[in-house]
């Protein structure tokens, strides 16, 4: 995994006091880990939200409560739980996932899934009943109705995915614990993300460079949001 060219050019655009390749590699680790985690979260969240939004079943309220609680779960606690799972002593210990990007994806998946599910569910249940009735009256099957509702709710679902991405890429507690904040000796990130790099600078009292990296993170989140709003919301006038 080497960073794309655009990331290699990044340090040339902003003059950061770091070694060559350092900033672009941590940006790349941040992006690749969070995008993968959010993709996996979305694949679980949307079907879960549809199930919760369309079906009555025992334990539905409990599941909704659990999901809503999960939105407020501290990332450090998630990091510790994932650590226990992937640690040498844990159930997945033999896979040697500790201090790898895979472990970081796991913890961000746990963090991003509740907000994506909850906000998607709110968007789905927010679709007006007349629209569901109309789809059904036109002879739509249950799947057709679901697709119509999903289409109506797509702005809210895009927001849900962005919220999940925001939570994943900005969290520092769990990736620090399960990833280890590692770079190679030449300063190329292995498991260091923008947030853990910021934490490292702050720990050393280097607040200026910490803020510079914070600005890079902000630009990155802004860019992803802009892309999603531009392409994910193209057809809707609001």
């Amino acid at each position: 995994m080497t960073p794309p060219l655009v990331l290699e050019l990044l340090p040339a655009l902003i003059d950061l006091p770091f070694r060559d390749g350092y900033v672009s590699s941590i940006v790349w680790v941040s992006l690749s880990v969070s995008l993968l985690a959010v993709t996996l979260s979305t694949l679980v969240s949307i079907p879960t939200a549809i199930l919760l939004g369309f079906r009555e079943f025992p334990g539905r309220r409990l599941l909704k409560t659990l999901i809503n609680t999960g939105m407020g779960f501290p990332s450090v606690v998630v990091g510790l739980l994932v650590l226990f799972v992937v640690s040498n002593q844990g159930p997945l210990g033999s896979f040697e996932l500790i201090f790898t990007r895979q472990a970081m994806v796991m913890s961000q998946f746990v963090l991003a899934t509740p907000p994506i599910t909850a906000i998607s569910l709110a968007a789905i249940t927010g679709v007006r009943q007349e629209i569901r009735d109309a789809a059904r009256a036109l002879g739509g099957t249950r799947l057709d109705v679901a697709l119509v509702v999903l289409k109506e709710a797509r702005y809210g679902i895009a927001t849900a995915i962005l919220a999940g991405f925001g939570r994943a890429i900005s969290e520092v507690g769990s990736v620090l614990i399960v990833g280890g904040n590692i770079t190679s000796a030449s300063g190329i990130s292995r498991t260091r993300t923008l947030t853990t790099a910021i934490q490292l600078e702050a720990r050393q009292g280097q607040y200026e460079t910490a803020l510079m990296l914070g600005a890079v993170l902000l630009v990155l989140v802004l860019t992803v949001n802009a892309i999603v709003v531009r392409y994910g919301d193209g057809g809707i006038q609001r």
Partner: protein, 303 residues
Amino acid sequence: MGAGASAGLAGCSQSESTETGSGTTQELPGVAGETLTLTTTTSTYDTGLLDEIHTDFQELYGVTVDAIAQGTGAALETARAGDSDIVMVHARGLEDEFMRNGYGVNRRDLMFNDFVILGPAADPAGIDGLGSATEALATIADAESTFVSRGDNSGTHTKELDLWAAAGTDPAGEWYQETGTGMGEALNIATQQGAYTLSDRGTYISRRAELDIAIRVQGPIEGGPAILANPYGIMAVNPGVHENANYDLAIAYIGWITSPGAQEAISSYQVDDEQLFFPEAVSADPGFQQYVPEGWSSDSDDG
């Protein structure tokens, strides 16, 4: 760790081996491509020492060193869980406990520097020039001058608690602030509050340009009391306890870092024109106590 972890990160290690230009795979030792997970303290990592010297080891063996800076307590805990192969820390008491419990083997004295007591220029407690660290702390406690403690179970925090105990003082009250932060951040907090604090000399040197606090009590490197010595030790994780520990590579690392070449590299590493770490592995003196818990002898019940 083992092959699984390194395979997942093959992209990174590959680009490194091409950088070093070692295309002759047949000549690389059998450990080539493996990853050594080293848990260590923030002071060895944040000063830049490890990045500086590790390139040499990585090229020599064709391996990758994953250095994880956690603070002494957490570094030992990670090793205790079998999640690292080797530990480099600075709290002899905790290292001894780690060995006594069977988790660590093949300990060596590695290098040392010292701790210094820092304080504001105004020196409200009046400790400047005191030759005794314990007397200085007792004076700070009597004056109830603000003292910033790491409070994070790090090697420096452990030393600080030892010093308070040696001074016969139980620090408590509004003047004693546990921050739970790294050394660099604790130095900033102490500067902002005009407080006293205990720091390793290396972190202080690398940060002093931005600090308003300065050395009030020197460590032994500059003629201060021996109690402020800050020795670093290195240990391999016992493969008899954690069979996945990369023991071969850990021992190769210990051999390399205690060799005259790497020890020379440690002593020539400078920040701000000052030497931060003083090697002590190469010696004509056998120094048997470095291999066992302090005070251990074959006559004692221990082990």
